[in-house]
């Protein structure tokens, strides 16, 4: 049925794609150990053989001269990402649960319209939002503060959380809710005790999307803060002047990806266990 060449074909394709995916990381890795002269000498790949590696790039992201300090921004990014993701997941899964389990009708507005309202927030070009957000946060005295950024980030993440969780909850039999209620749980307890514990895969996927979008948000964090709160992407972008130090930029890029790679490992573990079944439908 399958030709004997199939495995060869399969591994070739996988390997090609893997090279494409890993290429930029490899390039960033090797560039992060270069200095100006090594960069200007044209593209080289192998340290020692082709260029003399230095640690300048890496030193520069930890407060070295001509660099930045990524530690504080890292902590800020972590706090904002975790807080905003948690709030988005909480509010998002509550709303998604309602949209999955109850029928809403308000004039011509039905459940699917409400879901669309959530998702459609992602269509808004960020440019539209940023100036009004500025005035909104100023009004609340929340400019340049972590709570301010958390609120804004929630607006970005909530649609994602709702989108993932509605689909996920739709895959959980309603009878479980009913049974929990019959077993004496009021609706909120039903949600917390019977549905949420069975939603871990869905929550993980949603959390991953939230973390990715929250962690990597540059646009809003950049424009709604002044000096107090710097997030990691902001810190990295601060390197983007007319003389871009490729080496520092590369080191910073790799540093910023690291925590999310751990997240990818976790998601993959759930995938392998088959626990994500029904997480995305």
């Amino acid at each position: 049925m399958r030709s004997r060449l199939y495995p060869v074909f399969k591994y070739t394709v996988i390997a090609l794609w893997a090279c494409f995916v890993a290429g930029p990381f490899f390039w960033a890795m090797t560039t992060s150990f270069k200095n100006a002269n090594a960069v200007q000498g044209g593209p080289t790949y192998i340290p020692w053989a082709q260029y003399e590696p230095t640690l300048t790039g890496w030193r520069n992201i930890f407060g070295g001269a001509g660099g930045i300090d990524v530690i504080d921004p890292f902590i800020n990014s972590a706090i904002i990402t975790i807080a905003a993701s948690a709030i988005s997941l909480a509010l998002g899964s509550l709303a998604a649960y309602a949209l999955s389990r109850y029928r809403f009708k308000l004039g011509f507005i039905k459940n699917s319209d409400i879901v669309f309202f959530f998702v459609s927030q992602r269509i808004m070009p960020p440019v539209v939002l940023v100036i009004p957000f500025f005035y909104l946060l100023q009004w609340g005295g929340l400019l340049d503060s972590i709570p301010g950024l958390v609120i804004v980030t929630v607006a970005l993440l909530l649609p994602i959380a709702v989108w993932v969780m509605v689909d996920f909850f739709n895959g959980i039999p309603r009878e479980i809710d009913e049974m929990a209620m019959l077993d004496g749980c009021p609706p909120f307890q039903t949600f917390v005790r019977a549905i949420l514990p069975n939603s871990l895969p869905g929550l993980t996927v949603a959390a991953m999307f939230c973390a990715v979008f929250g962690w990597n948000d540059f646009f809003f964090a950049f424009r709604l803060t002044f000096t107090e709160v710097q997030t990691l992407p902001q810190a990295v972008v601060a390197l983007n002047s007319s003389i871009p130090p490729w080496w520092t930029l590369s080191a910073a890029a790799l540093f910023g990806v690291a925590p999310l790679v751990l997240l990818a490992l976790w998601v993959e573990r759930l995938l392998s266990k088959g626990n994500l079944s029904g997480a995305v439908r």
Binding site: P173, E175, I176, E178, M179, A180, M181, L182, D183, G184, C185, P186, Q189, T190, R193, A194, P197, N198
Partner: protein, 362 residues
Amino acid sequence: MNLSATDLSLTVDGVDHLKNVTATFPPGRLHTVIGRTMAGKTTLLRALAGLQKVDSGSLTLAGSDFLKTPVWRRDTAMVYQQFINYPHLNVFDNVAFPLKRAGLSRHEIQRRVRQSLASVGLADFEKRKPSQLSGGQQQRVAMARALARGTGILLLDEPLANLDYKLREQLRDEFKALFSDRGDTIVIYTTTEPAEAMMLGDVVLVMHEGRIIQTGTPQEVFERPATTTVASIINDPPMNIFGGRTEGGQVTVAGFQATHVSAHLTDLPDGAYQFGLRATDVSLASSGVEAEVTFVEISGSETFVHVVVGETPFVVQIEGIHDVALGDLVKLQLRPDRLFAFDEQGTLVRTPSYDLASVERR
């Protein structure tokens, strides 16, 4: 503490799911609701549990309005046709779940869970997750959870429907024992299986197209099916129903004349009727009415032969395995003394004197 439903009605998209359902469920009795698929049985249970809102009608428990009571305060347990358990909890915690909600002490919870699991024969499976159990075991867990709480109302929605035949028989027997000492519990059990309804029920309610069309003890319902519909629902295979006439004490059915008319039909006024005859009361013989075989089912030790006489279909149930082939021409013997007579609207007018003891319990 009677649970009383009055005129419960529910229409969805023009289809009646419940139509003026009025019934009283006294405690300490096991009620079986029998009806075909989509007859409204599940809807009725869900309405009683509070999971389904009704359009109109009232529901009271011990005289107080039960419709206003939210689901989680109805002190009701339900076992579903699908094997529904909490996937994230192990067997022990599944059974303990409602007990914890009820705020029982840990000790008491443990005692009741163990007892309940033992009663369904799952004492050794406490630590398993539902997904690691077979279908029958999963349903036992669901049963154990429903029983452990000792709720005032216990609803079972075709709990055996999704099990294979062997398990079904086994669990049915176990249920009989489990329900025998439920004290003041109101138990309502729905099924499509006449035998299950008859065997388990103290009271049988027959549902059809959203209505309760007959209520009575199994014997009453069996002996005196109020209509042709009931007769068809409570018999498996469904009772053979066919048109006929009586004229001067002579009964003509399906193109042949009864040779001798049983006493219970002699006083029928002349006219057109519908007659019913259980499949067990028809047999194949060397002489009789000519019929053509359309379908043969062999189930266990019995053979069901579907035939047509002219246009009228019959099912014949005969013991043992018989070599009858499709298209064979056979001869039927009917037992006139077992004929039920219904008027043209389908209402029972004469019933044979029946010896219930002679009906085999399947």
